[in-house]
């Protein structure tokens, strides 16, 4: 049997072959395998040069200065470092944080932990389309607000927040730093760290055809942002993140981001056409609900709920044909359906019966057609079993 069509790029992407080739050159004895901290010899110096070139590539792809880039093991670590690191640094100024209900758990869970330690956190509600009103952010800012953490592109529904306007609100407030989780952004829409007015930004390589296990926190030097370190040791990364820098990993991230920035427009055009094909193909089913404001979302993420269908069965039924994510609890470690869809006002059943189709660089029209056929067959069959269009057998 044919492997299912991969439509889960927002979960992770395969590494681009060009990236894999760059990584391979930094592993074995013939390549750039030295420890970038070993400045005493040429093996170390070569590795350091590769790391700095990757830093420059990564920075260029997102409108940052190379000096802003702190390598991490991924966006989860970057989010944790941004939130705990800023909170710790600013704790004498204030202990209030503003974020949103639709953030990734790598942001929400650190915020919950800070609540346990005595911080106050405001969780903003987006509208039914998943969009946060910047005015709502502005009015949530208090005298003791030190941090606002709002994501750029939502991982479940793809909507893009107006970071510029939110940054302007923080700027008017004066004391609140803005952290942006941009783990899903690179390659799907333009990212301009310096231009958007953010102070901190989390990035991940594996959502953009780079390797898993590497990311970065951008810490704006121009804006004088200061945070406390959380991982201590060799003093790498300006002392903000100790630990041997993994040359092949950051080289992979640099290459992936460079390609992603260069090909973003072409990738986006192609994805937009495929997304239309997918929505049109499934519309015939009836009872299909779009999750999130599609008009404000990146082309690559299409999240649909199917009325009168149980979520786990829907996923099981299509699994042989397509690999997608679901808002169903069965696929998550928690026992609840997607909290993101619930925050948009979806009831438990519709949240459970959602499928996130996420498209990517290697998605073809044939994959989309297979998805349309599989989902159509599954929804029709399960509705029949559920007696929704029941006729006696």
């Amino acid at each position: 049997m044919n492997a299912p069509a991969y439509l889960d790029y927002a979960s992770t992407t395969p590494v681009d072959p060009r990236v894999a080739a760059a990584m391979a050159r930094c592993l074995t004895a013939g390549g750039v395998f030295g420890n970038p901290s070993s400045s005493g010899h040429v093996y170390g110096a070569d590795a350091q040069a590769a790391v700095e070139a990757a830093r420059a590539q990564t920075a260029a792809a997102v409108g940052a200065d190379a000096a802003d880039v702190i390598w991490t093991s991924g966006a989860t670590e970057a989010d944790n470092l941004a939130i705990f690191g800023l909170a710790q640094h600013a704790k004498e100024r204030g202990r209030h944080i503003v974020t949103a209900r639709t953030e990734h758990r790598a942001v929400l869970d650190p915020c919950r932990e800070l609540e346990r330690r005595g911080w106050r956190v405001t969780y903003l509600h987006p509208d039914r389309g998943g969009i946060l009103d910047p005015a709502m952010v502005a009015s949530a800012l208090c005298a003791d607000t030190v941090l606002v953490s709002i994501m750029h592109v939502n991982n479940e529904i793809g909507v893009v927040q107006d970071i510029g306007a939110i940054a302007a609100a923080c700027a008017r407030h004066g004391g609140a730093r803005l952290h942006v989780d941009a783990a899903q952004s690179v390659g799907k829409c333009r990212v301009d760290f310096a231009g958007c007015g953010a102070d901190l930004m989390s990035l991940s390589a594996h959502k953009a055809y780079g390797p898993k296990g590497v990311g970065a926190l951008l810490v704006s030097r121009r804006r004088g942002v200061q945070i406390e370190a959380r991982q201590f040791g060799g003093g790498q990364e300006r002392g903000l993140r100790s630990g041997t820098v993994a040359t092949h990993q950051v080289v992979g991230m640099g290459a992936a981001f460079s390609i992603a920035a260069a090909e973003q427009e072409a990738d986006g055009r192609r994805a937009a056409a495929l997304a239309v094909r997918l929505r049109t193909g499934l519309a015939a089913l009836g009872g299909v609900r779009e999750n999130g404001d599609g008009a404000r979302a990146v082309a690559q993420i299409v999240n649909l709920s199917f009325e009168d269908v149980e979520g786990e069965s829907l996923l099981a039924d299509v699994a042989a044909e397509i690999a997608v994510s679901t808002g169903s609890a069965c696929a998550s470690s928690s026992s609840e359906a997607s909290y993101v869809l619930r925050a948009l006002g979806r009831d438990e059943r519709l949240a459970e019966s959602s499928l996130r189709f996420s498209l990517g660089r290697f998605t073809t029209a044939a994959h989309i057609d297979r998805a349309v056929a599989a989902v159509t067959a599954a929804v029709t069959r399960l509705r029949r079993i559920a007696g929704v269009c029941a006729t006696a057998s």
Partner: protein, 128 residues
């Protein structure tokens, strides 16, 4: 989520899905769609009182694959049997047979409840 061979087969075939109508048919259901698991059985009986046999059984379900598979299996097993409130195998045996995670045992109880409701409805139908 991984499913056993047996679960897959009954979920994918769902051979006895559907409804029955006409004389000698009774219907029972349990659970609710809003709570995520709903099962219904339609049973038709033939024969004389005291020697009745189920001649046809159908199910409908809004449920997870395990629940659909078990309901489908129950409906298929039903034909030719006497209409008794007990399932052909109890829910614990069915849980093991279909490799259902223990935290989902409650869903199998919905199948059992729907079955009992259908058998009860049959009895009421006959009494009338």
């Amino acid at each position: 989520m991984r499913y056993s061979e047996l679960t897959r087969r009954y979920f994918e075939t769902a051979a006895a899905a559907g409804t029955l109508t006409g004389p000698g048919v009774a219907r029972g259901e349990a659970g609710s769609r809003a709570q995520g698991t709903w099962v219904r059985f339609d049973l038709r009986v033939e024969g004389t009182p005291g020697r009745r046999r189920i001649s046809a059984a159908r199910f409908q379900a809004f449920a997870c694959p395990h629940t659909i598979a078990v309901a489908a299996w129950v409906a298929l097993q039903a034909a030719g049997r006497a209409p008794e409130p007990a399932l052909p195998q109890d829910v614990h045996a069915l849980r093991r047979l279909f490799d259902v995670p223990v935290e989902n045992l409650g869903r199998l109880l919905v199948v059992e409840d729907a079955w009992r409701a259908a058998v009860r409805a049959l009895d009421e139908e006959t009494e009338n």
